[in-house]
Every structure is written in C-alpha cells, then in structure tokens.
C-alpha cells in the first residue's frame, strides 16, 4: 500500500505517514483506556460525594416534611417539632467542640513549639512519633479510658471548680451546689475530646513552625532576643494562620466525634452552659449512635436529618480551615 504511493509522489509521502503514526501512538488502545480509567475514578469521587448528599437528603425528607413528628417519635417533646430537638443538639455539639478546642489548642501549640524549637533535634522526631501514636488509638478505647479511668480521677477537680469558681456560669453546680458524681458531664467529655484532637493540631502546627524562615530567626537572635522573644517575634507571627487552620481541623474532628461522647456524656436536651452537671447537653453524633438501632422508619429519618445538619456544620468548618490555608499560601514565601 505504501510502495505505490512512494513511487508516484516521492518527495511528499515520506513525511506525512510518520507524523500521523506518531500522533496516533500517544493516545490509543490501552493508553486511552488507562486515561479513561483515571479520569473515571476522579469522577467517581465527585459522584460519591454527591450521592452522600443526595441519599442523606432522600432519607431525611420524610422527617423534614412530616408535620406532627412529636406523635411518632418518643424523644421529641409533646407538641414540638424537629427543630426543638435539633437546636439543643447543635448547641451541645458546638459547645463540646469549642470547650475541647479551648483545652487542646494551648497545649498543642506548646508541644509543637517544644518539638520544633526546644527539644534536641534527634529527640524531636521520636517525640513527634509518640504524639502521632495518640492519633492511632481508636476512639472507642479513648471512651473506655475516659469513663472508667479518667472520670473518677477528675471528679474532685470538678467539685473544686464548683466550690470556688461556681459563680462563673460555666462552672455552676447542680441544685445542691455540687458537681455531678459520677462526672458524666460535658467537661469530662471535652477533656477526652481534647486529648483526641491534640495530635492533629500538634502535627499541623509543628509543620508550620518548622517552616519559619531561618533568616527571620537568625535576625531575631542577632538583635539579642531570648528564645521566647524569638518565638514571639519570628515563629508565632509566621505560624499564626497555620495554627488557626490546625485548630479548625481539630474543631471539625471534635464536632464529628461519636464514641467518646456516647460513652461518657449523660445526655440531656437543654440550652445549658453548665459544664459540670450531668444530663444537660448532648451532641448530634452521639445522639444518632445512641438511638439509631432502635428507631423505626420515621425515627431513623429524623436522626438522618440531624446527621445532615452535622454534615453541613463540619463542611463549613473544614472549608473555613482550607480557605485560611489557601490564603496563607498566597503571601507566604516558604513554599
């Protein structure tokens, strides 16, 4: 086939066929199939996330459109509707997450500074691994430890807080002026949650602190700064947005954590700031885990509706964290 063509027009033909062949070899057969496979699995990710949203909404619809849920579901108060339960649940979820964040962030920043600027280099990576070990411990084990080991130990501390700081609304006692015993209260839960989110906040902060430009640090030292002043002037300003986004990632974790809350907290459905009294608050995730298996169709649907609320809240928090990281990338010279 090629030989008659070459015979008829010798100067033109040697050129086009190879070029055409080359353009074909770059994308044909298995090569194309593999590319489609890769693109397809990328799309599968998008489809999965879309179906998470779609199936949750589909399952939640019966509860969202039902006009008399209180008559069908035992845990919705007489004459109330879904909102009367979801409100306190969202409140409890956010309260628990914020208290645990308040406990975890200072310690996490301290550990991150210890590993990045205080500990000897050789020791630092080993210590980082030890902190990462905390992240590998399953949440149900944290729950078991929290309720059987930690709770009896912290009860006197909570009682002390009620006795001497009871005038602060957060530390108010029950009607007898006591902290609950056993302390299955929000404060104990938040303490365990704080331990659980410590590793992620530490890991992200540590990475950011280690990225502090060497020149900034040396400039601070050359001006006679002490180690703390070096950290105040060079490391913390550089790492501030990194720590913020680390805290928000931790917040996202704390919002969605189920088992520790389920095992420790004695649930209640109140808008209550009392951290040391039992049966005041409950979180969305723990509420779902506690009630899901015994629920009928409409009850499950209502629980899935609360799960949808949790999904939206964590989504917003995580997007906030990403936005902060992205903004930091723009002006940081480190990358």
């Amino acid at each position: 086939m090629a030989s008659p063509a070459t015979a008829m027009t010798p100067p033109v033909t040697p050129d086009p066929p190879p070029r055409r062949r080359r353009s074909r070899t770059t994308d044909r057969g298995l090569d194309r199939a593999f590319r489609y496979l890769a693109v397809g699995s990328g799309m599968l990710i998008l489809a999965t996330l879309a179906s998470v949203a779609i199936f949750l909404v589909l399952e939640a619809l019966p509860a969202l459109t039902h006009d008399d849920l209180a008559s069908e579901i035992a845990w919705i108060p007489e004459g109330g509707n879904l909102g009367d339960v979801v409100g306190p649940l969202i409140f409890g979820t956010i309260l628990a997450a914020i208290v645990s964040l308040g406990l975890a962030v200072p310690v996490a920043v301290g550990i991150a500074l210890f590993i990045s600027h205080y500990a000897p280099r050789r020791m630092a990576s080993a210590l980082g691994y030890v902190v990462d070990l905390l992240a590998a411990i399953p949440s149900v084990v944290f729950g078991l430890w929290g309720v059987l080991v930690l709770a009896p130990k912290v009860q006197p501390v909570w009682q002390f807080l009620v006795d001497y700081f009871g005038w602060i609304p957060l530390f108010a006692g029950d009607e007898h002026g006591n902290a609950s015993n056993p302390p299955r209260v929000l404060m104990t839960t938040a303490l365990v949650l704080a331990v659980m989110i410590l590793p992620i906040i530490t890991a992200v902060s540590r990475e950011v602190f280690l990225q502090t430009p060497r020149l900034h640090e040396e400039a601070a030292l050359a001006l006679g700064a002490t180690r703390w002043e070096l950290i105040r002037m060079a490391v913390l300003p550089f790492g501030r947005s990194g720590v913020t986004s680390a805290a928000m990632l931790g917040l996202g974790r704390a919002l969605g954590e189920t088992m520790a809350v389920l095992m420790i907290l004695s649930p209640g459905f109140l808008y209550s700031f009392k951290l040391l009294v039992a049966s005041q608050q409950q979180t969305i995730a723990a509420n779902i885990a506690a009630k899901f298996n015994d629920a009928d169709d409409i009850g499950r649907s209502a629980l899935i509706a609360t799960g949808l609320a949790l999904f939206v809240i964590t989504l917003l928090v995580n997007l906030g964290a990403r936005a902060i990281v992205a903004r930091r990338k723009d002006f940081s010279g480190a990358n």
């Binding site: 070899t25 770059t26 298995l30 090569d31 590319r35 496979l37 890769a38 699995s41 990328g42 599968l44 990710i45 998008l46 999965t48 996330l49 179906s51 998470v52 949750l56 589909l58 399952e59 200072p106 310690v107 920043v109 301290g110 550990i111 500074l113 210890f114 210590l127 030890v130 905390l134 590998a136 411990i137 399953p138 949440s139 149900v140 084990v141 078991l144 430890w145 309720v147 059987l148 930690l150 331990v195 410590l198 002490t226 703390w228 950290i231 990632l249 996202g252 919002l255 969605g256 954590e257 088992m259 389920l262 995730a285 885990a289 298996n293 629980l303 899935i304 949790l310 999904f311 964590t314």
Partner: protein
C-alpha cells in the same frame, strides 16, 4: 577577644555586663515560657501513658488463647467465659473488603491527579477530596445505611454496608498519601521512559508506581489502621452479634470496636451473693482485653508500615 587589646578603648565592665546579660525581667519571662512549653509536653504525655497503662494492666488478665479463639455465643450473665474471635474475624473481613474497595480507587485517583489532572475537573477532585477528609464518621455510616436501605430495602445490614461506610473515610486518606508519594517520583524517570518509547500507561505502571510502591504501601497501611478503629459507622451499618458470621454479604457481624462498646454498655453484672462462678466486672474485663487486642492490631499495622518504608526506601533513592 584578641581585638580587645588593639581597640582604642576597652568597654567598661558595666557596659560589658549590660551587653552580655539579658535584662532580668526578660530572662524571667523566657524561663517561665520554657517551663510552660516543657509542661505542655509532659501534660500531653500523662493521658497517653495512663491510657496505655490502663489498657495493658486491665486487659492482660483475660488476654489469652481462649479469649482469641472463642465467640460470645451462649455466654450470659457473669459467666467466666466468652471471647473475641467473632469480633476479630469481623474486623479483619470488613477491613479487607474496605481495602479492596478503597485502595484501587484511591491509587487510580491519585494517578489521575498527578499524571493527568489539569483544568477544572482536577481542581474539583482535589477540593472534594479535602471535603471528604472532613466527613464525620457517623455521617459516612448514615450514608452507607441510606444507600443500601433505599436500594436493597430493610434487613440490609451486612459487612458490605460497613465496608462502604469505611471506604468513604478511607479513600481520601489513600488519595492524599499516594498523591504525595507520586509527586516525589523525579520527572527524569518519566522522561527517560518516554524517551525509550514507552507509552504513558506503561510508564505509570512500570516506572512511577514501581518507584513509589514503598511509600504507597505505607500510606495504605496507615489508612487501614485509621479505619480499623472506627466504631460509630459500624454500629449503625453492621450491627452486632454474639455468634461467628463469616459472610460479609449477609447479616450482622461483630467487630472489635463495637465489641468493646457493647461490653462496656452491658455494664456490671448483678451477682447472687455466694455465687463464686459469677464475676461482677466480667463485661468491663472483656472490654479492656478487646481494647488491648484492638490496640495491638493497630500498633502492628503501624509497625509494619514503618518497616515497609524503611526496607524499601533505599531502592527508590538509588
């Protein structure tokens, strides 16, 4: 030092003191902060040590071959019996199924992002992988439940539903770690392969993935050790049982984390006075031993992951 002799005027000792010593107030602050930073670290070690110690000391009592090889079938009250075999089996089967679903999807998606990804689709995938990382585990469980409930109908609880829920949590972790590893593969290797006339897909499989295989394996094992401890999604998708069920496609299965929770929730056993065969704390004892088994499994996976990356690493550097 030597320049001091030739300098026109030696600084007075007072001046030297000022220059060489930090102002006491600043020094005090420095010390206080140092103590606080060290203190933060010690503070964080307390729960870790306490937790590991509790699990080992309370769990070792029932941790033996009998515990590992028996289920909870026909075990009731304060009987000195019962084990974790059915839960261990369930955890292994469900985790394997999860890995079978998520590892190929995760790796191929990472390949897409690194080798093919351009334009808005790649940006969207990166963004939504981030979003997926933040999905609370209970929401993943609700999703898998809703999916199977609407498609299969009631009585849909099975190991497969749990594996789908765990996959939603595991896929983004696999994608992230694989992506990082693929980006570490030097471009020269790809170009050398293209220069030899090797097609793109073969280059990816034989050169890029082969180079990164140690890192990818490590990432996968760490992802597995993360999902193996998940409790909440399994609680609502797989349920619980006291018997051995080795069929991941039908019926409730027990898993280690759910076993720990159920034993804890069963609480203390009210024993009749004088009944020596009845152990009041039997449920808590079993919960601690199962927690020990769970932690051992997770630690084992982590150690293997570190070993894999250490043994294979020099090859990729060469």
């Amino acid at each position: 030092m030597a320049t001091l002799d030739t300098a026109p005027a030696t600084p007075s000792s007072a001046l030297r003191d000022v220059l060489s010593q930090v102002d006491p107030k600043r020094r005090r602050k420095d010390r206080v902060m140092q103590v606080l930073v060290y203190g933060a670290f010690v503070l964080a070690m307390i729960p870790l040590v306490s937790l590991v110690w509790s699990v080992i000391s309370k769990g070792i009592g029932r941790f033996d071959l009998y515990f590992l090889t028996h289920s909870m079938r026909n075990v009731y009250g304060g009987m000195d019996a019962g084990g974790v075999y059915h839960a261990l089996l369930g955890t292994i089967l469900i985790t394997l199924l999860t890995a079978v679903i998520s590892v190929p999807i995760g790796i191929v998606t990472a390949v897409y992002l690194v080798e093919y990804g351009k334009g808005s689709l790649a940006r969207a995938v990166t963004f939504f992988v981030d979003v997926m990382t933040g999905i609370p585990s209970i929401v993943a469980g609700l999703f898998a439940f809703s999916l199977f409930y609407l498609v299969v109908g009631p009585q849909s609880k099975s190991g497969l539903v749990g594996a789908v829920a765990l996959s939603v949590l595991m896929i983004p972790v696999v994608i992230r770690s694989t992506e990082e590893m693929l980006r570490l593969v030097p471009n020269e290797l790809r170009e050398a392969s293209y220069a030899l006339g090797v097609s793109k897909w073969l280059t990816i499989i034989r050169v890029v993935l082969r180079t990164a295989v140690a890192g990818i394996t490590t990432g996968v094992m760490i992802a597995v050790s993360r999902v193996i401890g998940e409790t909440a999604p399994l609680l609502i998708t797989v349920g619980a049982t006291d018997s051995i069920n080795d069929d991941v496609f039908h019926g409730n299965m027990m898993t280690l984390p759910v076993y720990v929770y159920r034993q804890y929730a069963a609480g203390l056993v009210p024993c009749a006075p004088g009944d020596d065969a009845c152990i009041p704390t039997i449920n808590y004892d079993r919960a601690w031993s199962a927690a020990l088994v769970l932690i051992l499994v997770v630690m084992l996976l982590n150690l293997v992951a570190r070993g894999v990356s250490r043994w294979f690493a020099p090859k990729t550097r060469a």
